[in-house]
Symmetry: C2
Subunit: 262 residues, 2 copies
Amino acid sequence: MCSNELTEFSIIGAGAVATHMSVVLQAAGMHPLGVYSRTLESAQALGQKLGCPATDRLSDLPGAGMLLLAIKDDALPDVIGRLNATQRESVVVHTAGGVPIDVFRGKAKRFGVIYPLQTFSRQRQVDFSAVPCFIEASDRATLGLIRGVAERLTHTVSELDSAHRAVVHVAGVFANNFANRCFAIAQELLATCGLPPELLLPIIDETAKKVHTMPARQAQTGPALRNDRLVMEKHEQLLTERPDWLEIYRTVSRSIHHDTLS
Amino acid sequence: MCSNELTEFSIIGAGAVATHMSVVLQAAGMHPLGVYSRTLESAQALGQKLGCPATDRLSDLPGAGMLLLAIKDDALPDVIGRLNATQRESVVVHTAGGVPIDVFRGKAKRFGVIYPLQTFSRQRQVDFSAVPCFIEASDRATLGLIRGVAERLTHTVSELDSAHRAVVHVAGVFANNFANRCFAIAQELLATCGLPPELLLPIIDETAKKVHTMPARQAQTGPALRNDRLVMEKHEQLLTERPDWLEIYRTVSRSIHHDTLS
C-alpha cells in the first residue's frame, strides 16, 4: 500500500449506504478485502457483489487500509468497541451525519468521517459523483487520506466538523424525510377522492426543479404566504378527521407566514 | 363558431396561470379575443404576447366562446358579479382549486371550472401537456365544451366535483407549499454552517424521483420512522433557536411515527 493513499478497504454493514459506497469505491479502483454484517445473508449478498469474503463474525473481518463503518448510528459505539487490534490499525471511518467523531476517541489511532448527504435505497441507483460528502478526521495526515477516498466517490467534498455535520444532518431530515411526508399526505388526500398518486408527480417534480433556479424561500407560494385566512380555514376544516395532518397544516403555515415577517 | 366546440376565448387575469393557460390554448388553435387585468400594464404584457387587445376596464372585454377567469380566489365573486350581459353569455370558467362552482350560480348560464394541479411562475416554462386538469360544469353540454378546452391543454383531464377539488387543492398545498418550506428550512440550516444551498439539490431531486417508483409512504425513512428518540432529541436541541422549525420538526416527526402505527 502506498503510504499517502488508501487502496484497500473492509466494510462493516451491508445496507444501502454500505452497498452504494463500496460498489463505487471498488469501481474507482479500491480493493475490498471483506464485508461484515450481523446477518450472514446480508454480508454474503454484498460480498458476492464485490467478489470478497463475507462474515457475520466481526473478528474475522480483515484489517485493511480503511475500515468503513456504514451501520445504524446507535450501533456504532458497540461495534467500534469490539474492533480487534489489527482492525484498530486501519483508518477507521463512519458515515453517520449525526454521530460526532469522538465516538472513535481512544478506540482507534487514525479515524474520521465521510458523510454523504443523500438518501439511499438498495433498489435505486444513485449518481454518487453528484452527492456532496462531508469529511472530518483525527489529524491532518488522516484527513488527506480520507479526502483521497471521498474524491473517488464524488466531485463535491467539504471538510466539516461534527457540530456542523449534525446541523447538515437535520437539514437532510427536512429536505428528504419531511418533504416526503408532505408528499405522502398529499397522495393520501388524493386517495380519499379516488384519485391515483401519480397525478401529483408533475407538481412534485416542479417543486423540486424550481429550487434549482431560485432559493426555496423565494419559490414559496400559497395561502400561508399571503396569510389568506379564508382559504386556510377552509383547508383546516377538510383536515379535521386527521389531527396529525391538521397540526402539520397549522405549524407549517405559521412558519411560512412567520418567515414573511422576518 | 362551431356549436359543439369552443374556439374563442377572453381572459380575465394576467398572472402566471392566466399567461401559461392562454398561451397554450392559443398554441392549440383557440383564438384569444382580449385580456382584462386590474393593472393595465399586466393586461398589455399578456395582450402583446397573445396579439390581442388588453384593457383594465372589465366592461370593455369582449364576450367570447369562453371567458376564462384566472385570478385570486377571493377576487372571483366580485368580478363575476360585474360581468356584463354579453360576457354572461359566454361559457364562464374559473381555474381555482378551492372555489366551488356555485360562485357562478345565478350570475351566468353556462359555467364551470378547469383546475390545473401545478405551481406556476411567470419566469418558468411548464409542460402543460403533463399537468392534470380537473373539470366541472353547470350541465352536461357545457361539461363537453369544457372538456374539449381542457384536452387542448393536457393529456390528463378528470371530472371532479367542487368538494373533492377542494381536497385536491389541499393536497397541492402539501406537495408544493409545504415541501418547499421544508426545502427552505434545510437551505437555511446549511447557511448557518456557511454552506451553499446547492448542496441540497441531489437529495431534493432524489426525494422527488423516488416517488415515481414507489408510494411516498413506502419511501419514508429517517429517525421519526424508526422512532429513534436519541437522534430526534439531538436534532431538537439544534433547533431551539428557531421555535417554528422546532415545532415543524416535532409535528411532522409525530405524524411519521403515528403513520407507522396505523
